[in-house]
């Protein structure tokens, strides 16, 4: 009986879909022979597909509901992937060592093309980790992140064009320019909260792009800047393959450094202050946290990384123009953070690899790219709103001592 009711709704849905699509999918007027063709087979397709999809949908949501009830009943906390990893550090260690080895041999096993794509994906991973400080930790929704990325890229391109400054000098300069832009924007807008902040940052991103597009004397307009040199390798000229591998390792190194730094920040005094601000701004200020200063730090630090990756981007593509810094780019980076799991480092790296690599390997479906992207986002928000790997908080164990509690070192 229970199975029958489970089948009822999918049946109704498929009937409704067959009815709706009937005029489009079934009837076709053949204007040459002046006859009406009845394509009943299409109707069967539509019916079966909608039936199966609805059934699957119902099955999944029922299961989810059951799991939630079960968790409530037993008062057991949801076993998330993040919590699983936090409880078993050795699993995480094996996984990271495995990933590390794979990353190290990758350029020697795969072609230059693959290495190039992988370097791009890692760049986005770094951008995601940078934006995670702003959005994930401090809770400041920044939709104009690409502006800082552009600031870094143009710093290198322009400094090189006018003064012949090399990559290694430009890297810290680009990062600092990014951070300065962050502070510049941050000062006036950080008193805004939530949606208002999102709109202002979105506007800022667009303004930056439009300025770059229209200020011909400064940024060479839409035609952009070309012939940006690749990073130097102790003065040795590298061929294309060598240069790609070199850049790949450069990005990998940056990615590792970012993971290291972000990881340390997460459980520090500043990291806790960011999360406190995200969780409850009034309470965090009542606890003695200087809201403006702390938010500005997060904003500038996020922009710092964007600036640095911007320099690498300019060096990697050797050509930049404003078209590389559209809102879509900001949305992409934000999707990486949200999809990966806010505040979770492994999640964000996974999401960056997924979102950048999958479209590259599925070029055949490039027409449907945004469609698939949108559906994946909707499904994620429905079934895993916490992201691929939910961020878990650090736990502490204590040992009783006569002199008082003592933190156990693990």
């Amino acid at each position: 009986m229970k199975n029958l009711t489970a089948l009822k709704q999918p049946l109704l849905v498929s009937a409704w879909f067959m009815f709706l699509t009937f005029p489009l999918m079934v009837i076709r007027v053949n204007t040459i022979e002046n006859v009406v063709e009845w394509r009943w087979r299409n109707m069967i397709w539509v019916g079966t597909a909608s039936f199966l999809l609805t059934f699957l949908w119902r099955y999944l949501s029922d299961r989810r509901e059951a799991a939630r009830k079960e968790a409530e009943r037993t008062e057991d906390h949801e076993q998330t992937l993040g919590r699983f990893l936090a409880g078993r550090p050795e699993v995480g260690r094996y996984l990271s060592v495995g990933a590390m080895i794979l990353a190290l041999i990758f350029p020697f096993v795969f072609s230059t093309y693959q290495t190039n794509i992988m370097a791009t994906a890692l760049m986005y991973a770094v951008l995601g980790l940078g934006l995670n400080i702003v959005v994930g930790q401090a809770g400041l929704l920044n939709l104009g992140y690409v502006a800082f990325y552009a600031a870094g890229a143009y710093s290198y391109a322009l400094l090189n064009h006018h003064f012949g400054i090399g990559f290694w000098t430009a890297l810290p300069v680009g990062a600092v320019v990014g951070a300065l832009f962050g502070i510049l924007l941050g000062f006036p807008v950080l008193r805004l909260r939530g949606d208002y902040l999102a709109i202002v940052t979105l506007g800022f991103g667009e303004i930056t792009r439009l300025v770059l597009e229209n200020w011909n004397d400064f940024s060479f307009g839409p035609s952009g800047i070309s012939n940006i040199p690749r990073p130097g390798f102790f003065g040795i000229a590298l061929d294309i393959r060598g240069a790609t591998i070199y850049l790949y390792f450069l990005v990998l190194l940056l990615c590792l450094a970012t993971v290291f730094i972000v990881n340390r920040l997460q459980n520090s005094r500043i990291g806790r202050a960011w999360i406190a601000i995200r969780e409850d701004e009034t309470a965090s200020q009542a606890m003695g946290i200087d809201g403006t200063k702390t938010k500005l730090t997060a904003f500038a630090l996020g922009a710092f990384w964007a600036g640095m990756v911007g320099v690498i981007f300019a060096a990697k593509t050797t050509f930049i123009n404003p078209a590389s810094f559209t809102f879509l780019e900001s949305a992409m980076i934000l999707s990486i953070v949200v999809l990966g799991g806010i505040g979770s480092i492994p999640g964000i790296i996974t999401a960056a690899l997924f979102l950048i690599l999958v479209p590259e390997y599925l070029r055949a479906f490039s027409n449907y790219r945004m469609l698939i992207f949108g559906s994946v986002m909707v499904l994620m928000m429905l079934f895993r709103p916490q992201g691929i790997v939910a961020g878990a908080r650090r736990t502490y164990t204590f040992r009783r001592r006569k002199s008082g509690p003592e933190l156990e070192r693990g």
Binding site: R269, G288, Y396
Partner: protein, 264 residues
């Protein structure tokens, strides 16, 4: 050593548009004293808290804060986090914990203004930072023991039962090392058993940590047994002040609470 009051408020006035939410309110809290601020709903008690902690800048009046044995300071118009740094911490009427942080981390945030390691320290994790971090953890754990939450240090704060969340908020405020603690309806929504435990906790904080306490509370049983002194507010004005026994018999207070006696 002079026995200056730790908090001295003179002529505090606050207006929202045409509404006078606070009208010339005077109040002081002595060292290690428990003072209760009572009054009907809308009397301006929480506005008073918000004014002295820097959420709203008061329209006029003076607020002085004097740490025991320290220098008196005027704190009008200072930002909230600076007020906390000066030694006055508060809890909120509606619970304001950090839900997605663990219980221990909530209290650790309270140590923020008493510690100093910055970005560089966090990344390099030098000996100084590690020592400071360990100090934060141990001190936070001690405070959690005081409020009886040491068994759930690693739980997310949102998963705590209501009464425990209230105690967590008090623990977090105590972690900022205040000499004056403002509690905004700490017993709201608690059952009689929890309220009794809360009373013990407030006394313990006052006696153990030498912290003066100013609290807003509607539970008259708690207020009468715990406070050294009461201030009664109505329509933004202070209408009475005195010991619990004096307030209990005060006709003005009875009128404010129960309305005018038609037979009088």
């Amino acid at each position: 050593m002079s026995m200056e009051p730790v908090l001295q408020v003179r002529g505090l006035t606050m207006t929202f548009g045409g509404l006078r939410a606070l009208d010339n309110v005077d109040l002081h809290v002595e060292r290690e004293e428990i003072v209760a601020l009572v009054g009907p709903n809308g009397a301006g008690k929480t506005t008073f808290f918000n004014c002295i902690t820097g959420i709203y800048p008061p329209a006029s009046g003076d607020i002085f804060l004097a740490p025991p044995g320290g220098k008196r300071r005027r704190i009008n118009g200072l930002k909230m986090h600076t007020v906390t740094e000066h030694g006055m911490a508060r809890t909120f009427q509606n619970i304001h914990i950090f839900p997605a942080m663990t219980v221990l981390e909530n209290v650790m945030v309270g140590r923020h203004c008493r510690t100093s390691s910055g970005l560089l320290g966090a990344v390099l994790r030098g000996a100084g930072t590690l020592r400071e971090e360990e100090g934060i953890v141990n001190k936070s754990y001690e405070i959690l023991e005081t409020v009886g939450l040491d068994a759930s240090v690693n739980e997310l704060a949102i998963n705590l039962p209501y009464g425990a969340q209230r105690r967590l908020e008090i623990a977090r405020a105590v972690a900022t090392d205040p000499f004056l603690l403002l509690l905004d309806e700490p017993a709201a929504g608690m059952n009689p058993q929890e309220t009794k435990e809360l009373e013990g906790l407030i006394r313990q904080i006052r006696n153990g940590k030498k912290i003066s306490i100013l609290l807003i509370e509607h539970d008259m049983k708690l207020v009468m047994s715990i406070s050294d002194r009461l201030c009664v507010m109505d329509y933004g004005e202070k209408i009475a002040e005195g010991t619990p026994a004096e307030i209990r018999g005060n006709p003005i207070v009875i009128e404010a609470y129960l309305g005018e006696d038609p037979d009088a």
